[in-house]
């Protein structure tokens, strides 16, 4: 297939499957990752995340199905894909006898040709990106897990890739290191598409704009994170008020676009969950209807959002029970 440079979907798979003997590690995966997105790839251990990543990079061969990145076939055009991708493995392994500078120099020379000074400058830039300048000439054998991981990010980014594939990039990092990684990912958003697997759902919620959830080798959800966090119970608005609410409740319940009103009293406050059939009407009228009553004060108002952890657990346990 002729590679395309102007595709809106960077990663696309259709029916992508991988068996290891009798074990079905990946079952007919249809994946879409749009350009310039940060996509969190979630799933419990053994869900098939690393297998998917290896298939995308040509390190494993699919049992069935197809996949392409930048319009290039993941089997036939793997080398062309790897020229435009940066990859960090779950447990990055480098040559322990080499220094960080040597590893980055070695990596850079797979992608670039030209003056020595240019290669060296690129290496220095990457060392600075991950804050390893002072350890540049230390052998990697003596690196901590976090330093190794930071070097992994540097080598993945050295070719200024259009797509970064990161397998558990923050797994071995302390909280500060994790924040650094998230910061780097946000910095790279403008320049690259980022597809990363992780177990840390807070991180996904913080930086990702799309989520793909895999369980037991099967895709169970993918889409914009906002859609996922809105839940599957229809559109629900949540409010927290003080004061007497009876008349306000009556006015809200009488609206044709209101489908349900649930009210709970908690610590002297009133919590509302208002289900609506027309989100626009709710946005423009709901708050006004409640504030018509001058004795009522609204402390919080917004569309109901779930925590990613709740959604993830619900989807995965639902799939496992099913």
């Amino acid at each position: 297939m002729e590679p395309t440079h102007q595709t809106e979907t960077v990663i696309r798979t259709e029916g992508l499957s991988k068996n290891f003997g009798e074990i079905e590690a990946l079952k007919s995966l249809n994946l879409n990752v749009p350009e310039h997105s940060i996509t969190g790839f979630l799933g419990p251990n053994g869900a098939g995340k690393s297998t998917t990543i290896r298939l995308l990079l040509g390190l494993n061969r699919p049992t069935a199905g197809t996949g392409n990145i930048f319009g290039c076939d993941i089997v036939e055009d793997s080398v062309e894909i790897r020229k435009r991708v940066g990859y960090l493995a779950q447990q990055p392994h480098f040559y322990d006898e080499m220094t960080a500078r040597e590893i980055l120099d070695y990596t850079a020379r797979f992608f670039f040709t030209g003056p020595e000074a240019g290669i060296k400058a690129r290496v220095m830039e990457m060392l600075a990106l991950v804050n390893l300048e002072d350890k540049a000439d230390r052998r990697i054998g003596g690196f901590s897990g976090g330093e190794r991981q930071r070097l992994g990010i540097a080598q993945a980014q050295i070719n200024e890739p259009e797509l970064l594939i990161l397998d558990e990039p923050a797994a071995a990092l302390d909280p500060m290191g994790r924040l650094d990684v998230l910061h780097i990912m946000e910095q790279l958003r403008e320049r690259a598409t980022i597809f990363y697997s992780t177990h840390i759902l807070d991180d996904v919620q913080r930086v990702s704009d799309r989520v793909v959830i895999l369980n037991q080798g099967r895709l169970i959800s993918q889409g914009p994170i906002e859609e996922l966090l809105a839940g599957s119970d229809g559109t629900v608005f949540r409010l927290q008020t003080t004061g007497k609410i009876e008349r306000a409740r009556q006015r809200v319940t009488n609206q044709p676009w209101v489908s349900s009103v649930n009210i709970n009293a908690v610590n002297g406050l009133t919590e509302w969950r208002v289900g609506v059939s027309e989100e626009l009407a709710a946005r423009s009228q709901l708050l006004r209807l409640i504030l018509e009553d001058e004795t009522v004060e609204v402390l919080e108002f917004g569309r109901e959002k779930y925590q990613l952890e709740e959604i993830f657990m619900k989807l995965v346990s639902g799939e496992n029970d099913g």
Binding site: V79, A89, F94, F111, G114, G118
Partner: protein, 266 residues
């Protein structure tokens, strides 16, 4: 100075070879490595040659009888015979972890996630180890050996004949290198690589006198034939057949290694 780097646009079965090869050959160029190799082989191979040429004849003469009638001939046969065995064991030990080690510790997966042809990865190991072993083991020691032989009896072993013997020894070394690398692709442990490669070498030593003309299609007689060629003597066996068959075996091992490495999953 212009610092602008350009993206490589090359492709094909040797993509990444230069970078891989430079990394591999640098390991051979490390002073400690080649110095240790040089000293070890100097003592083992040239030590034996010097002993045959300069020590044993004197020891035997003191006893009234001499077991070494022709020190130069025995020295050359000893150099090529022991060299064939020792250099092969050396290259098997040095190359045993080259591929299987990288498969097991994850560095092969890392390298192959870059724009690198798998054939380039395998061939860089083959080329760097072949050049390293041929230069550090065979060439260094042969220059010293030829110097010792010339000092003992100038003109007895001609340079041309000596080079002919060396070519056979080089082929013998390449056979075991390619076997070890192929096993590195096929096997899942270093022990398996070492066991099979050393097994072929040592079983050959035991069997070569019992399998008759079958030895002609193996590399097992090559060191002896190399010694005879260096002395300019006629071999009892046709020399060409073992040379050709060893070369064919070597090419088969390389082809199998390349083919299977393309299919490996990480």
């Amino acid at each position: 100075m212009d610092k602008a780097v350009q993206r490589k646009s090359s492709a094909g079965w040797l993509l990444g070879f230069n970078n891989l090869f430079v990394k591999e050959i640098r390991e051979w160029l490390e002073v400690r490595r080649w110095l240790v190799q040089t000293i070890v082989w100097l003592f083992i191979v040239n030590g034996l040659l010097a002993m045959i040429l300069f020590v044993l004849p004197n020891v035997a003469s003191a006893g009234g009888e001499t077991a070494i009638q022709d020190p130069v001939s025995d020295g050359v046969i000893g150099f090529f015979g022991l060299g064939g065995l020792a250099f092969s064991i050396g290259i098997i030990i040095l190359a045993q972890g080259e591929i299987v080690g990288e498969k097991l510790n994850g560095t092969a997966e890392w390298v192959l996630s870059k724009p690198v042809a798998r054939s380039a990865f395998f061939l860089s190991k083959l080329a760097a180890n072949a050049i390293g072993a041929l230069v550090v083991m065979l060439l260094f020691q042969s220059v010293i050996a030829y110097g010792i032989l010339t000092a003992a009896d100038a003109g007895r072993v001609t340079l041309l004949n000596f080079l002919a013997g060396l070519e056979m020894l080089a082929l013998h070394l390449c056979f075991y290198l390619s076997l070890t690398l192929m096993m590195g692709v096929l096997a899942k442990s270093r022990e398996m690589v070492l066991g099979v490669s050393l097994g072929v070498l040592l079983v050959g030593l035991l069997l070569r006198n019992f399998i008759g003309t079958l030895t002609l299609v193996t590399p097992w007689m090559l060191p002896d034939l190399a010694g005879l060629a260096a002395l300019g003597e006629t071999a009892p066996l046709p020399i060409l057949l073992p040379v050709v068959s060893t070369a064919i075996w070597t090419l088969i091992f390389i082809a199998v290694g390349l083919w299977r490495f393309e299919k490996l999953e990480f």
